[in-house]
């Protein structure tokens, strides 16, 4: 399959993967968060609360669709899709199994890092079109934060690219060696923290800031339009975890065949759970602390990682 | 510092305020004419009372009694400052220039008693809706919305 039809099919598959990831991810997050709080998460709806998220989704679909009177209607309706589509697209360059990456392009790594940044435009549009002071503030904060954390994330993945000698996803996986985990340890830490910032998860959720801005840039969205923002957030978490598990932790390289894929999924789940743990443990950072972390702490760490890798490569 | 020491300190610094100072139930009260309220308050502030904790009023029938609670952090002592405001066209000088805490407290007194404060930058109702008529904490406040509690024996 190539061209338009191929793109359509893989795009739909990516969207469905995000929807499934959200259904599982929200349930998993509420259960893990419950256990962190020493309580049980969703329990009543379905066995072990597994039907909780389908119930939530069905309810959201049946909600009244409010478009407030003062918003810019076309932009307001377009913004959730601008936020969602780049994240869905970024799932296509992840190497899922040996010989299988939906889009095995020669700039794969760059594609994964650059394309989700387009959602920033969507967040800005969502905040701006709401014609609501606090939504606009949330949108501006989101833009500043996402742009700032692009740099350490890209630099940390760059060190993997330097070690692999290529940006094509499957070639990176072919070149992966177990000692890369040690060599890229600092880079992995930087990647982990920057990914949490990219998906607007606590401690970096200033754009949402539940106790402050009351949902920030998606404050005026109701029903399934808001659901699209939530799906984007979970989709981004899953994409970042998949990518981190593949490129930093080796993914399916440890075991042959199907066992490798199962291990890959297990590593992804581990990273998702780590993100959930961080989310429900730490308080929120202020904007100046956020910017300081990005520019003064994470970027130098990523540069140090690059230097380390640069020293190692001639000896490979 | 305790109240007697405060009385001595006050009498030493401002002898003309001394006869107005009385001690009841262990707390000191300075009772002044409302004309001289601002000057007395300024004197007390330079004496060391840097914190205005409460501004309120009591409807005594023929007049309102303004009550100010002043606290000094360095001297660790508090006292009351009182003045009597006549009932018709009640007004007195605002103490906002001395203690900014008086801003909303005086708005509350205006809202509930109707006492106007000259020199207050933003005198309007604070706890009741803007279009309310009447001042509820006066003893002669009538409102048909109030349901009186029945007396059960």
């Amino acid at each position: 399959m190539s061209g338009f039809v191929g793109g359509l099919v893989w795009g739909l598959a990516g969207g469905m993967l995000i929807a499934l990831a959200t259904v599982f991810g929200v349930w998993w997050e509420r259960k893990v968060a419950g256990r962190i709080h020493m309580r049980i998460g969703p329990q009543t709806t379905g066995p072990a609360g597994l039907l909780q998220v389908p119930a939530d989704t069905l309810k959201m679909i049946l909600k009244e669709d409010i478009t407030p009177a003062q918003v810019d209607v076309r932009v307001f309706r377009l913004a959730p899709h601008i936020v969602f589509v780049p994240v869905a697209m970024s799932l296509t360059v992840i190497p899922f199994a040996s010989g299988f990456a939906p889009l095995n392009t020669s700039i794969g790594m760059l594609f994964f890092l650059a394309v989700p940044s387009l959602s920033v435009i969507g967040m800005l549009l969502a905040g701006w079109s709401s014609r609501n002071t606090y939504a606009t503030i949330g949108g501006l904060r989101a833009a500043a934060q996402m742009i700032s954390y692009e740099l350490p994330r890209t630099l940390s993945v760059l060190s993997v690219v330097v070690l692999a000698g290529s940006m094509r996803p499957l070639e990176v996986m072919e070149a992966w060696r177990p000692w890369w985990i040690l060599a890229n340890a600092i880079g992995f830490l930087v990647y982990f923290i920057s990914s949490i910032a990219e998906v607007n998860s606590i401690p970096f959720d200033l754009p949402q800031a539940e106790s402050e801005l009351v949902a920030g840039y998606f404050a005026d969205y109701s029903g399934i339009r808001w659901g699209i923002f939530m799906m984007t957030e979970y989709g981004a978490v899953v994409a970042a975890s998949l990518f981190g598990a593949a490129v930093f932790l080796g993914g399916w390289r440890w075991l042959p065949g199907a066992f490798g894929v199962v291990l890959f999924i297990a590593l992804t789940l581990l990273l998702i759970t780590a993100i959930i743990f961080v989310k429900w443990t730490f308080p929120r950072m202020r904007s100046d602390q956020l910017m300081t972390t990005a520019w003064k702490i994470l970027t130098p760490m990523a540069l140090v990682q690059l230097v380390i890798v640069g020293v190692i490569v001639p000896w490979m | 510092m305790n109240i007697d020491e405060l009385r001595d300190h006050l009498c030493g610094q401002y002898p003309d305020l001394c006869p107005l100072f009385s001690i009841e139930f262990g707390d000191g009260t300075l009772q002044v004419e409302c004309r001289g309220l601002y000057d007395a308050a300024a004197d007390l502030k330079s004496l060391g009372f840097d914190m205005l904790g409460m501004v309120t009023a009591v409807d005594r029938g023929e007049h309102f009694e303004m009550v100010y609670r002043l606290t000094s952090r360095e001297m660790s002592v508090g006292m009351f400052l009182k003045c009597l405001v006549p009932r018709d066209k009640p007004h007195t000088r605002s103490l906002y220039d001395l203690w900014p805490a008086a801003l909303w407290q005086e708005r509350e007194v205006y809202d509930l008693f109707g006492i106007e404060f000259d020199g207050h930058p933003d005198l309007r109702r604070i706890m009741l809706p803007e279009d309310w008529v009447g001042h509820p904490l006066r003893k002669d406040y009538q409102d048909e919305r109030i349901i009186k509690r029945p007396d059960y024996i």
Binding site: R30, G34, H37, M38, R39, I40, G41, P42, Q43, T44, T45, G49, L51, Q52, P54, A55, D56, L58, K59, L62, K63, E64, D65, I66, E210, S211, V214, A215, A219, D220, Y221, S222, G223, W226 | M127, L128, P129, P136, Y141, D143, R145, I146, I147, K148, R149
Partner: protein
């Protein structure tokens, strides 16, 4: 709600009675098991409500109830605390911002009837049902967090009776608890019975 409403009315007048009851069962299940609450807490009852909602001892998350601070994302508004005349326009405004379908739980004596402020006061609204359509009342001053959870469960039962067809209501025969029983028993309605 518009599309679902039209579909509901269309199905009601056609041969769709069976479809409607199945759809109703599904939609009511979804709505009743996923109540997102907007905590409109003004006074002391807010403390008990905070204890009940996401916090650990009286966990409401296991019933699918999560607090949403933004009214546009919420289904249920729990008015907890005394509502004064000055606060009334704000509560109305937030209620109007909630999307349909929405419900209101009046928590605590002040929102039910004015509570201890019924007599001798000029500024308290005597019961939130003066300006909001209340679905469940919780008595108590303040009610215990278990009472709040019980109210959410009763709201769940109430939502189960609703229908997307505007002239249909699934009537349940409610028998109040006898001595020694803890819950009322509910029998489903006869097929075709309209309330």
């Amino acid at each position: 709600m518009a599309i679902v409403d039209r579909v509901g009315s269309a199905l009601e007048h056609g041969p769709g009675r069976v479809v409607l009851s199945s759809l109703d069962a599904l939609f009511d299940w979804a709505r009743s098991h996923s109540q997102w609450v907007m905590p409109m807490g003004t006074a002391c009852c807010a403390m008990e409500m905070i204890a009940s909602f996401p916090f650990t001892k009286f966990d409401s998350d296991r019933h699918g109830v999560i607090p949403q601070a933004d009214p546009r994302h919420a289904d249920v508004m729990v008015v907890a605390g005394t509502i004064t005349r000055k606060m009334q326009p704000a509560v109305i405004r937030l209620y109007e911002q909630m999307p349909d379908p929405k419900w209101v739980i009046a928590m605590g004596n002040c929102t039910v009837s004015g509570g201890i402020f019924y007599y001798d006061t000029y500024s308290v609204v005597r019961g939130v049902d003066e300006f909001l359509p209340v679905d469940v009342y919780i008595a108590g001053c303040p009610p215990r967090p278990e009472a709040v959870q019980d109210a959410l469960m009763q709201l769940r039962e109430k939502i189960r009776q609703e229908s997307i067809g505007p002239n249909t209501r699934h009537v349940r025969k409610l028998t109040l608890p006898g001595p020694g029983e803890s819950r009322a028993s509910v029998e489903p309605s006869e097929p075709g019975e309209v309330g």
